[in-house]
């Protein structure tokens, strides 16, 4: 399978026309070829990958984010960070390659009642203006980034922490929208302790998890957490979780 990019000018045009294309966004057929008929709107990258067959979401709760993260990240592990931050690549994938998946996972019909449907489409099918959040909001890019921040090849199952990240409690969103999570050691330390706690059957509820996130954020104002090693970070997280429980 070829991995293509949408051209920059076509990306601009597509974004300008979200509102006038809203009906197209509710179509089950891929419409982007017709929209750009007669123009060269995409070009191939140098990346070749196996076909990716994503699990189709069954409902808003049964969405197979973990399984699909494994598929996307395994196939696209070779992407550089710069490639993985390129809106042109992910927009091509959301509008073409994975259109059927996008229709099931992020159906635009559900945005039509919202105050700003265009912004909602921009968030899931393109990149939103906030560049940091954009990566974990785009319907396909998020799956790659979930894998990138949690994949640990030192584990027997390298996706063990990914499973924790996508398990429950909005962990992915609460964690990845904090700036400390940009350091993979800190992110993995949090996930690793959550995994241990899960094995010890101690239940961490949503409120405690959010308190933990706030605590790490506040601590980061005094201590540069990035200087600490994984063991120290895990100890710090463990102590706080125990204090919260």
């Amino acid at each position: 399978m070829e991995l293509n990019y949408i051209s920059e000018s076509s990306l601009d045009e597509l974004k300008v026309n979200i509102l006038s294309n809203i009906e197209r966004y509710t179509s089950d057929e891929v419409w982007i070829y017709k929209f750009f008929e007669g123009t060269t709107w995409n070009f191939p990258s140098t990346i070749r990958i196996e076909n990716i067959d994503l699990h189709m979401p069954q409902s808003s709760t049964l969405h197979f984010d973990f399984e699909n993260t494994k598929k996307i990240y395994t196939s696209l592990k070779g992407l550089s960070v710069i490639q993985a931050t390129d809106e042109r690549l992910w927009t091509y994938l959301t509008h073409n390659t994975f259109w059927n998946y996008m229709r099931k996972r992020w159906p635009v019909e559900s945005y039509l009642e919202k105050e700003k449907p265009v912004e909602a489409i921009k968030e899931r099918y393109f990149f939103m203006a906030n560049r940091d959040r954009a990566l974990i909001r785009n319907g396909i890019a998020r799956l790659w980034w979930y894998g990138y921040v949690s994949y640990d090849e030192n584990r027997e199952d390298p996706f063990e922490l990914t499973k924790v990240l996508l398990s429950k409690l909005d962990i992915a969103q609460s964690l990845l929208e904090r700036s400390f999570s940009r350091n993979p050691d800190i992110t993995k330390a949090v996930l690793s302790v959550l995994k241990q706690k899960e094995l010890e059957t101690s239940f961490i509820d949503r409120e405690n998890f959010r308190s933990l996130m706030m605590y790490i954020n506040q601590l980061g104002g005094v201590t540069i957490l990035d200087t600490l090693d994984r063991e120290d970070l895990e100890e710090l997280v463990r102590e706080k979780i125990e204090a919260l429980s």
């Binding site: 300008v16 026309n17 203006a129």
Partner: protein, 287 residues
């Protein structure tokens, strides 16, 4: 990482407090780039003898903290030496990179006390943990270019696109991406396309389309309106900022931005009005 005038639980040597008196900390950073790597040369110096002693005893160290929101890159580089170099792969950062410089505790210190502490702290010592901030210099921003300056010309930061909806605004713009996208209604876009084929009429398009958009952008920059995005992260902003610098306008120093935005826009893209009017006069004569 953004450093605020926050309250630390222990005295911190900084430019915004007098916790540590008659002392300062300065960190400088010089960058260069090879094809695949950014190389940074760091030089840190503090006049605080107490901290210098801690560094000599390997109880404190100098640190530069890098954070790039575009690529989610975040890393700290540390050294016990005043002068040190470090590198990072060129493809790990892009766009705006925030850099903070610190003096950090290299180990837990149970009785942190310096002769230079403000007299208010006399007789007190503090517990600091490894990684705790002992000193801060001003935060700085580094802009990592993806390519070697491909968008230096002002008109190239604009992208004119057709807005195909019904009842759309005839002329609008969106500056939340890397380019400033000018949105023209379909009619207007068709006319724009036709006119753009005629080289002699290009200045007319600049006057009618680029100029008002640029003035609007300059107004936004000049008045530093609250945005729901950070323009620093947009490539167009970096281009305009660097071109303004050539005109000795510093966007962070409003005193240098006293000319009207119309005057500044003309300095940035030339005087398309004059050429446009001339073209129209000639057009009239031909009739």
């Amino acid at each position: 990482m953004q450093i605020n005038y926050r309250q630390f639980p222990h005295p911190v040597l900084s430019y915004f407090s007098d916790d540590v008196i008659d002392s300062d900390f300065q960190a400088s950073l010089k960058s260069s780039k090879t094809q695949n790597t950014y190389i940074f040369e760091a030089y840190c110096v503090t006049s605080c003898e107490g901290i210098n002693q801690l560094i000599e005893d390997k109880k404190a160290l100098f640190a530069f903290h890098f954070e790039c929101s575009t690529t989610r890159f975040r890393k700290v580089f540390t050294s016990f030496e005043s002068f040190f170099t470090f590198q990072l792969p060129a493809d790990s950062i892009e766009g705006k990179v925030q850099i903070c410089s610190f003096i950090l505790a290299a180990e837990d210190i149970n009785n942190y006390s310096l002769p230079e502490f403000h007299p208010d702290y006399e007789g007190h010592s503090f517990i600091v943990k490894r990684g705790d901030v002992l000193g801060i210099d001003a935060e700085r921003t580094f802009f990592a270019e993806k390519e070697i300056d491909p968008l230096k010309r002002i008109p190239s930061i604009f992208s004119v696109q057709p807005n195909r909806g019904e009842n759309v605004i005839p002329f609008d713009m969106d500056s939340s991406g890397h380019k400033i996208v000018i949105k023209l209604s379909e009619d207007n876009f068709e006319h724009y396309k036709t006119i753009s084929l005629n080289q002699n009429l290009q200045p007319l398009l600049s006057s009618l389309i680029i100029m008002p958009a640029l003035v609007s952008i300059l107004e936004m920059i000049k008045n530093a309106e609250e945005q729901d995005f950070d323009p620093e992260e947009c490539r167009w902003y970096q281009v305009i900022k660097s071109r303004l610098r050539e005109l000795e306008i510093d966007v962070e120093n409003k005193n240098t931005f006293s000319d009207s935005t119309i005057a500044v826009a003309q300095k940035l893209i030339g005087d398309p009005l004059n050429i446009s009017l001339l073209a129209l006069v000639n057009f009239e004569d031909e009739d």
